[in-house]
Amino acid sequence: MTRPRDIHDYLDAFDDIPGTRVYTAARARMGYHLNQFAMSLMKAENRARWLADERAYLEEWPMTEEQKQAVLARDYNRLLDLGGNIYFLAKLFSTDGLSFLQAVSTMTGMSVEDYKAMMDAGGRSPKGVRSIKANREAQGAAKEEIR
């Protein structure tokens, strides 16, 4: 390849991974206050205030209404889309008493039981979830054969 190799190519490749958001600068900027809010739940006194009135606590943070709604709904996929990072969001689901496995399973469209069963059986295979582009090309090739 002759095009310049730089951060753009590096970042573009990340968009080729199915069902995955890499926590790049773009996401870090969008989610700045969302993540700082989540971080604040590391302090016991903040957790108490948060648990007493979630909405009121959220109002103290310059987050978008969309981010606030997604927090209240514990919609983790949405929160990742809005710039959340899983290690920051962990303070939120930990405060809810959820484990990583429970919280993570909510993002897969599987029930927590099915997700746990998949993990116990060896986890999700990387086959077919490595590259959106490769999947598309494979589909094209398959159609080609059928014709």
């Binding site: 991974i17 958001r21 962990a90």
Partner: protein, 303 residues
């Protein structure tokens, strides 16, 4: 004089800390994981293997550092560190004692070697650091080794490249060799990994084949792991598998050739593939410092 006598790699899944702290570490789920560490616990308790200091490479998971400040490489030069409150109260484990003499020596040496270190004198340490201590030592009243925390950013992209991590390990080895204080046995531990993805519809990804290739390549003289790009970790091992670049700091510090003393791999722990390996240097040679301040007569000669 100080010398690196061994390298240990281990996952640092927070649930392992919970299991140990609540006495579930020998139940049906956690038993097979902890059993894989029994060999190491016995080995490390023997006087000839016991490290005086552990350089513990880990990543902070939004505990000591928030989004206000994100150091790529931060080295702890403080006297002691408390376990962090990660959202459910701090773990009830001993404080971590530092080794400021060796830590400052390493920090200063690394900067002369043109690594752009961030020096930390006060911080709390999270599961990334305390879980490996638990896995290796169980639940003592005090940790049996001093610890130099080396925190690596693997959360906000880009993390350091594999090559940079390996080179940092080599520079750490040079620094340890040139320490002039007490005779110290030093371990270097690389933590995190192996394959796991904690987000999105692809969550739960595990790649045992790739993980075992990675374990294989930690052994011997190959430097193949050094040039794996970030995108390969992401595709093959899930979005959080990138933590494995931290193992390369450990590997780089062991020098030209390693031998494996013990190896353990288990799926799953929560969302993660547990990997653990104990290595010793066979030929601990590392390249000489390429820098002026670290290595050139002109830099020190009197005028």
């Amino acid at each position: 004089m100080a010398r690196i006598t061994a390298g240990i790699a281990s996952s640092h899944v927070p649930l392992l800390g919970v299991a140990a702290d609540t006495g579930k570490d020998r139940d049906a789920y956690f038993g097979p994981i902890f059993e894989g560490y029994d060999w190491t616990r016995k080995w490390i308790a023997r006087p000839e293997n016991k490290p005086d200091v552990v350089i513990l490479v880990y990543n902070d998971h939004a505990s000591a550092f928030d989004m206000k400040i994100i150091p790529t490489f931060a080295i702890g030069c403080g006297e002691r560190y408390r376990p962090a409150d990660e959202g459910w109260g701090p773990r009830q484990v001993p404080d971590v004692e530092g080794h400021p003499d060796l830590a400052w020596h390493i920090a200063q040496s690394l900067i002369l070697d043109e690594f752009d270190m961030t020096i930390i004198n006060e911080m709390d340490v999270d599961h990334g650091l305390t879980v490996p201590l638990t896995m290796m030592y169980g639940a003592p009243d005090a940790w049996p080794a001093k610890v130099i925390p080396l925190a690596v950013n693997v959360v906000t992209y880009p993390p350091p490249s594999g090559n940079r991590c390996w080179a940092l390990g080599e520079a750490i080895a040079r620094a340890v060799q040139s320490f002039k204080g007490k005779d110290l046995k030093v371990h270097i531990w690389g933590t995190g990994g192996m394959s796991h993805q904690l987000q999105g519809t692809r969550a739960g990804l595990i790649n045992a084949e790739w993980d075992n290739m990675f374990l294989d390549s930690m052994i011997g003289t190959t430097q193949a792991l050094r040039s794996i790009p970030h995108i390969e970790y992401l595709r093959e091992t899930g979005s959080e598998g990138i933590e494995m670049v931290m193992w390369l700091i450990m590997r780089g510090a062991l020098g030209r050739e390693t031998r494996a003393l013990h190896r353990h791999y288990h799926v799953p722990c929560s969302n993660t593939a547990i990997g653990h390996i104990v290595l010793e240097p066979v030929d601990g040679t590392v390249p000489a410092s390429p820098t002026l301040e670290g290595n050139n007569a002109a830099a020190q000669g009197a005028i």
